[in-house]
């Protein structure tokens, strides 16, 4: 009867996002008068697993296997579905991130469930179950009713606050019931960027647009990012021109982010750009053009020259931090 939450790990560790997810599952479990079981796949130490209890998991199913490291979607979905069946789960919750988006739809079919992706809140009603999500890339919300018995939800990042509890979670080793012949993905190479704040994890993001005028002017923004511990991003024209890498492109067709604080420097704010950043809690815009649409989306703005404002901002923030 429990709610199952799939908690992905990153090199054996959980992230804030994992704890948001468990907090959400716990709040949902309270509404449905049940408990939360977390599923962890891969090698994670017991002390790390126990942390999930601090946010409301009562039980942790631990699949301590290396076989899933290739992220074979079919195998992972089977493992999650088997855990949900074994628990008799009425709801399964995933993060709305790369892996959650990859396997939740498969699990929904396996369990004959009804799925809503990218939910931003607890259901507004539980009988019938109706949940809210963003549609039209943040330009509207939809309330969606799930008709199936089993509910599959993916939770949008940064949309739910952490809630600490003092659950002492029980860890159980779980046999995922996935035979070797299910896997058909071969991992040839993994390249990870190290030493940088990941855009999708960043609480603060500093972003630049065409106002930077060329690829050679980004040192000032990197310095600001350093001082703030922020992630770096850019608008589409900047990545299309090759001034910055595609992995930094935020916008409707690039990465969609939801930091607490987003700085847009020299970005006019085309509707496609706003689609990728309009879930940010606070938006600051700096642009030479007072008529730029970014100011309609921003909470705070400066009409001015980014080459003057950014160094001052870096100095002010250094002063405040010291």
């Amino acid at each position: 009867m429990s709610i199952l939450v799939y908690t992905e790990n990153w090199d054996g560790k959980f992230k804030k996002l994992s704890f948001e997810l468990v907090s959400y599952a716990k709040a949902l479990a309270n509404e449905l008068s049940t408990t939360v079981t977390a599923l962890s796949i891969g090698k994670v130490a017991d002390e790390e697993l126990k942390k999930l209890g601090n946010y409301g998991a009562s039980k942790i199913l631990n699949v301590a296997e290396d076989r899933f490291e290739n992220l074979d979607n079919k195998a992972l979905a089977l493992a999650v579905a088997n855990a949900a069946k074994s628990e008799g789960s009425k709801a399964v919750v995933f993060a709305h991130n790369n892996l959650g988006k990859a396997i939740a739809p498969r699990v929904s079919v396996k369990l004959d469930g009804g799925m809503v992706t990218g939910v931003t809140e607890l259901p507004e009603s539980t009988d019938p179950i109706i949940v809210k999500k963003k549609v039209f890339t943040g330009k509207a919300f939809a309330n969606i009713q799930i008709h199936a018995d089993i509910k599959i939800l993916t939770l949008a990042q940064n949309s739910f606050e952490l809630i600490e509890t003092d659950n002492n979670a029980v860890i159980e080793s779980f046999d995922a019931g996935v035979s070797d012949d299910v896997f058909s993905t071969t991992l040839n190479e993994t390249n990870k960027v190290t030493g940088k704040v990941l855009l999708t994890d960043a609480e603060i993001v500093v972003s630049g647009g065409r106002g930077f005028k060329g690829p050679e002017n980004w040192g000032i923004l990197e310095e600001l990012a350093d001082v703030l511990g922020a992630g770096m991003a850019c608008s589409r024209p900047v990545s299309d021109e090759g001034w910055r890498g595609h992995e930094e492109h935020v916008g409707q067709t690039g990465k969609i982010i939801a930091p607490n604080l987003y700085f847009a420097f020299g970005i006019s704010g085309a509707i496609q750009h706003l689609g990728g950043v309009n879930s940010s809690k606070v938006i600051v815009a700096v642009n030479k053009d007072a008529e730029a649409p970014i100011f309609e989306a921003a909470d705070y703005g400066i009409v001015g020259d980014l080459f003057k404002v950014i160094p001052q901002l870096t100095e002010e923030i250094k002063a405040v931090k010291s």
Partner: protein, 245 residues
């Protein structure tokens, strides 16, 4: 290798979003319809791979009523060989995936965008793969075919992986799979008129979810402006008022 590219028919990304019928339905009046941007990138890559010689045919498919045909014609003009329209109003993702499963089983590689820019579901590709018992790879930002073997680049948090995967497979693609969508040339548009666009009836399928209603976000408070030479004030506001620093 035979490729199927799934095409979602969506409002142009600059469309002003409005609802009608007591906020129960999207207002389609005056809307320009386009190929979903991620599906367009998928199609572009499929055409590039075909030009490089590793692909036999590219088929595009859509679940929709006749209103979606111009979008399918555009996909033919970009370089698909034939198109299939499953003639029904798309309900939810499960319903759409169930329709597509009927035709997708005959292909080696199925390409679909990571989400559609209207309902942002990110669901049809994975559901389709599960219905067909195919494997799937999501967040795919690169695709190559070498000696009949499919190699993919997949985005993971903070990096990328190069993987090989057995076909048949559903690839769920995002930015990077192609850089710019291919614009149909006049010759392509002329040829598209003669390419086959098959209309097939829908199959019986259920739906698991339904839209109750829509809401527009509450109007935003006006942007608070700070003078260019008063960055100190901005930092104070961010700390004390917004509590964001």
């Amino acid at each position: 290798m035979k490729i199927l590219v799934l095409i979602s028919n969506v409002p142009d990304t600059t469309t002003k979003i409005r609802f009608v019928d007591n906020n129960k339905a999207f207002d389609t009046s005056g809307v320009q319809w386009i190929i979903n941007p991620w599906d367009e990138l998928a199609l572009t890559r499929a055409v590039e791979l075909k030009e490089a010689g590793g692909v036999e045919t590219i088929t595009v498919a859509n679940v929709g009523e006749s209103i979606t045909e111009p979008t399918l014609r555009k996909a033919l003009a970009v370089g698909a060989d034939d198109a299939i329209r499953i003639d029904t109003k798309p309900k939810d993702a499960y319903f759409v995936a169930s329709q597509l499963a009927e035709i997708a089983k005959n292909f080696d590689v199925i390409m679909v965008g990571i989400e559609a820019s209207d309902y942002n579901g990110s669901a049809v590709g994975g559901m389709l793969a599960e219905l067909l018992d195919f494997n799937s790879v999501s967040a795919v930002s690169g695709m190559n075919i070498e000696n009949g073997q499919l190699t993919l680049t997949r985005e993971i948090d903070g990096g990328q992986q190069k993987i090989s995967v057995k076909t048949p497979v559903v690839t769920i693609v995002q930015k990077g799979i192609a850089i710019d969508p291919r614009i149909p040339a006049m010759r392509g548009i002329m040829m598209a008129r003669k390419k086959p666009l098959k209309v097939v009836p829908a199959v019986e399928a259920g739906e698991k979810t339904s839209y109750v209603n829509f809401e527009l976000p509450p109007p935003k408070a006006a942007c608070k402006m700070v003078e260019e030479d008063n960055v100190k004030e901005l930092v104070r506001l961010l700390q004390e008022e917004a509590k964001a620093l």
